[in-house]
Structures are given as C-alpha cells and as structure tokens.
C-alpha cells in the first residue's frame, strides 16, 4: 500500500511538472512618464525580464535601472545618479500573482482582464501593489499590458529642489511585455 502511494506521489509530481507552463521574455518594455506644466519626461526600457507561470499565476518582472533611456542625456544622468541611485540600487523588481487566474484560459486565444497583486521594489524600497491589466493569449504568446501610477515618495526617491517643478509626484508606468511559451 505504502509503495503504491509513493508511486502515485511520484506520478503526480511528474504530471504537475509537465503541465506547469512558463512564459518568458528578456525584452519586455516598461515606460515611465512624468508630466508637469514645466515639461513631460519619458523613459523607455526594452530590456525587461518577465516570467509567468500559467499554472500557479506567479509573475516576476526584473528591471535594470541603467537601461532606462531618456531623450535628454542630462535627465538620464540625474535619474541614475541623483533620483534612483542606480549605483546603489541597480535593479527593480516585481514579484506577485495573477489573482483571477481562473478567468484566463492560456489554451484559448483571446484578451483577458488580469488582476495582479504583489510586491514592487524600487530604490531598495518594497511596497505592496494591486493593479489591473490585460493578458492577450495568441498562439504561444501571452501579451501582458498594464498602466498604473506610482507615487515617487513611496519609494524614498528624493527629487532635488532645483528640478522639483519638472518632475511629477506621481509617475505613470506602462508595462508591455510579450512573453513566449518556453519549451520544456
């Protein structure tokens, strides 16, 4: 009896690992957008790593801060050296879960609303966030898109008084990542 249970447990373990399906990308896109009466500032990052487990709903994003590019070189310098201190905090990440996983059918092409909860770490500060977006399933791709706002002060990012009027207190974040199904 014990032997049968062991065999069953091993079978279930193998079955679950085979059915676990991971979607990944190393070139996802994230954009920051700050808008004030003085100026609009956009920063683009096309080197975002993301992984999504369609069985558990677990979702991970990893971002290298020095990969954000700005139109103005001086703003890029300020972003890295003064605001985000990328020499001290080179990476940001999000670790979380899709909470309405039962509403997303990864086996059927379509656009599905997604609710995500998790922890966002920027500038060494971690905050719990809940955001909404969409996941568009097409062939072997899960296209994750979301737009939300973060408050700069929540992440202990200090803006020097000389440029305080140039940078919004709330910054819009756009996420656009095409994750491809990883062959097991």
């Amino acid at each position: 009896m014990k032997k049968t249970l062991n065999i069953l447990a091993i079978f279930l373990l193998i079955a679950s690992s085979v059915s676990a399906q991971r979607y990944i990308t190393k070139n996802g896109y994230i954009r920051f957008f700050s808008s004030t009466p003085v100026e609009d500032i956009k920063a683009h990052n096309r080197q975002v790593q993301a992984a999504l487990d369609s069985e558990s709903g677990e979702l991970v994003f990893k971002v290298l801060m020095k990969s954000f590019s700005f139109k103005k070189a001086l703003m890029q310098e300020h972003f890295n050296e003064k605001f985000i201190e990328s020499h001290k905090y080179p990476n940001s990440n999000f670790k979380g879960k899709i909470v309405n996983l039962d509403e997303i059918n990864f086996k059927k092409d379509g656009e599905y609303p997604a609710k995500v909860e998790g922890k966002l770490t920027i500038h060494g500060v971690t905050q719990a966030i809940e955001e909404e977006g969409t996941i568009t399933v097409k062939n072997d791709t899960a296209h994750a898109e979301s737009q939300f706002r973060i408050t700069v002060a929540d992440y202990d990012i200090e803006i020097p008084s000389t440029v305080r009027k140039n940078i919004a207190k709330e910054v819009e974040v756009t996420v656009d990542c095409k994750l491809k199904k990883r062959k097991q």
């Binding site: 991971r22 990944i24 190393k26 070139n27 096309r46 080197q47 790593q49 992984a51 990893k62 971002v63 290298l64 020095k66 990969s67 103005k72 070189a73 001086l74 890029q76 890295n80 990328s86 020499h87 080179p90 990476n91 095409k178 990883r182």
Partner: protein
C-alpha cells in the same frame, strides 16, 4: 549715461550667450557617441559574465555605466520587435540561455543580422549591469 547703457548692454549680451551655452552644452547636451568612445576595459566575454555572476557588487562598481569591449564566441543574434541582440551564452536556466546580451546600435543591426553565428568577435558597448542572469550591454558596435 551712454556709458552705463553700454555696460548694461554688454552684461545682457554676456548673460544671453552664457544662458545659450548652458542650455546647449549642459541642459541639452547630447548622448555620448558610443561607437566612437574608447573602451575602458577589454576582456573575454566569459570573464565578464563570471565576474558579474560571482561578484555582482564589485563587478557592478567596476563595469556598470562604462564602455567596455568583450571578445569571444558569439552564439547567436536574436531579433525582437525593435532590437537586434547578440548573445554570448554560457549556461541555461529558468529564463533560457544565460550570458551576455549585446543590443546593437541601429546602424549595426543589418551587419549583426548577417553574421554567420557562432563566430568569434569583439563587441564594444555600454555595460548597463547585471539583470540576473544576464549581463546587459547596449549601444553596441563591432568590426568584422
């Protein structure tokens, strides 16, 4: 009175010129010319990858934000919607191949796509750091 106007005029002109120079060369200064910049370090791609993987903090301090050149066997060139990336692959993990990812300057994409990989190469670019498990190099160029 006439002299006073002259002095004010000169001060205003100097102020305007100074303002223009600050705007042009500080506020509006261009991004570096990554293709022409000299590499601060030249080293084998595998050594750079291992340094980042094993001693991330010290490698970050040494290489991140600097122009570096890496040498070795480029395993493949991949294309995304907007980027062409040369890949030095040294291991495999959750995110697929792990190694160094070199995003090409727009003027090098055609040349990179034409590479017959795997091929030995020297690639120069801006090291942006380590997005575990990959070292990221951007604005890359090469001669081959």
């Amino acid at each position: 009175m006439k002299k006073a106007f002259k002095i004010i005029g000169i001060i205003a002109a100097v102020g305007l010129i100074a303002g223009f120079l600050v705007y042009q060369f500080v506020y509006n200064k261009p991004h570096p010319d990554y293709e022409k910049e000299e590499a601060v370090y030249t080293l084998p791609a595998k050594k750079l990858y291992q340094e980042f993987k094993n001693q991330t903090d010290s490698a970050n301090e040494k290489y991140s934000g600097k122009i570096i050149a890496v040498t070795g066997k480029l395993d493949k060139v991949v294309n995304t919607d907007s980027l062409t990336i040369g890949v030095f692959a040294f291991s495999s993990g959750m995110f697929g191949e792990e190694g160094i990812r070199c995003t090409m300057l727009p003027e090098y994409t055609k040349k990179a796509k034409a590479l017959n990989t795997p091929t030995n190469i020297k690639i120069k670019g801006l090291c942006s750091g380590f997005n575990d498990p990959d070292v990221i190099m951007e604005h890359c160029s090469f001669n081959q």
